[in-house]
Symmetry: C2
Subunit: 342 residues, 2 copies
Amino acid sequence: MHEIKFAVLGTGGIGRRTLEYATAKDGLTPVAACDRHGVAVDHGGLDVNELLAATEGNIASDGGVTAVKQSGETSGVAASSQAEPTETPIADIIAESDGIDAVLIALPNLEHDFIPRVADRFAEAEYDGVLVDVLKRSRVIDMLDDRIDSFNDAGITFVCGAGATPGLLTGAAALAAQSFVDIESVEIWWGVGLKSGYEDNRGTVREDIAHLDGYDTETARSMSDAEIEQVIDEHDGRLEFTDMEHADDVLLERAGICDAEDVTVGGILDARSDEKPTTTTVRVTGTTFDGERGTNTFQLDDNTSMEANVNGPALGYLQAGVRRNRNGEYGVFGPAELMPGF
Amino acid sequence: MHEIKFAVLGTGGIGRRTLEYATAKDGLTPVAACDRHGVAVDHGGLDVNELLAATEGNIASDGGVTAVKQSGETSGVAASSQAEPTETPIADIIAESDGIDAVLIALPNLEHDFIPRVADRFAEAEYDGVLVDVLKRSRVIDMLDDRIDSFNDAGITFVCGAGATPGLLTGAAALAAQSFVDIESVEIWWGVGLKSGYEDNRGTVREDIAHLDGYDTETARSMSDAEIEQVIDEHDGRLEFTDMEHADDVLLERAGICDAEDVTVGGILDARSDEKPTTTTVRVTGTTFDGERGTNTFQLDDNTSMEANVNGPALGYLQAGVRRNRNGEYGVFGPAELMPGF
């Protein structure tokens, strides 16, 4: 495949790690990045090290000061020598999008329809390329599906949920399903230890709290940080989730693997330890063509952090999305649909 | 994706099951099939049930006689009402190949270069489409690689090793590798219980014997059936293999997952039991971006037979191959390369 030029919207944990990770991959060139106050574009390829140093604040010339994340109008991306300050970062990226094959949307999940609305802006500008998000919520998929016509008109291939979960785990489920002609259940169970990664992943924790009994997306979003901390305290740092409204079910159904109702998602988040409280496991139970019932299993080592499981899949699915896009396949795709035609 | 029309060369176990399996998949239409003495072509779609009944001999009108596989000049495919007897089955398929998107080569592994030579015939005829095999041997990949120029000239996308192993298991390894930025080892360990499936899979057993100490492909091929039985007897029906020359290593390296030398393949074949003698397991050990070492694991349930694990992946990779082909990507691809750009 020809080289892929991509942009990253947002330089939080996922955005920064994706830029870094891409430097180790052949054929993937980051050409644009932005945060709220700055935008950097270089169609020949960004100097990722310089940009990362700027967004983290640990610039070599600072005399060895511990890395502190910068924000504000002259910090973050804007502090990079490759960047310019801006009040319209997304519009600035869109203005350059003729030379961009794919855009990873790694923005904080501010409002429920925020990412669909970002997609609208690309569609209105007739962007002909790939958009990728790492979302988890089933209902966002519906919002994206509502936009299929405009994606088709523009030529957008939208890959949703391409991170660790649903991304990596529904991909594993699609693979594990290959032994069977009929799938009875897909059980996705995750463990996340998020002590040292807590600061970088507040948005994820807030989103997870929305899955607890008595909470929803709206109440979780309106909570103060102190209220979030209180919920964590009440659970001694360990939040356990069952029957989550997680996009895995919808995404496996649209890939033809099984019915959404046969998918269950749950897990445990420990905000006070980096040890995983439970082993992330995907179990696919079904019946083989010769009538045997069995369960195939995929397990992640407890030593692999949530962060470690996002970037490989995200960039892998991004590349698969570009292949679809160049093949004229537009619309909305989940990770399991990008697996090899299973 | 548009409908895929495909052909099957060979109607042994894998060929027949693929035809049957395809009837349950959307967008996959079997349009041609052949065995040594017959060829059936219908570009509107074969009547798979009638064809399978003919190749198995369990035709409804036979009054309930137990299925007996037929062979000979007027049996097998030739016994189908859709077929004609032929002495040139492969040439007959090639003659119809303008209307065929993909060809699954499910022929007995007669000689080491047999499948590469079949591919040559398609290339010489300027076939512009996908060829898929379910081979396992590393050196066949080299022979296919030698043909990349002619595949490129014709427009052939050759997908090799697309069955259970290396197909399903290297796909699992590619997926499991996503947690890591550096892979230390991929260990593939398989168990096969092949009592009732033994008759249908003599070729596989013979090929496996070539991996035992003191044997190679040439000696195994020259052995009589009685000599094969004797080897099985000497091992009380259980053949254990270590450090197999299995294509998994080459295929994972070419997909950029790890170096071939970091891959080990072994397993146990029990020819006297349908119970698997050991659990098929893929272990991928590596280091995450944040410096943690871990092992991700994929396990197949002992109840899933080798046969059950071939057809889903084979048709999945076939579809992925067609997508590459339509995108102008020709040459030789392993299953792990068809995973989502990992």
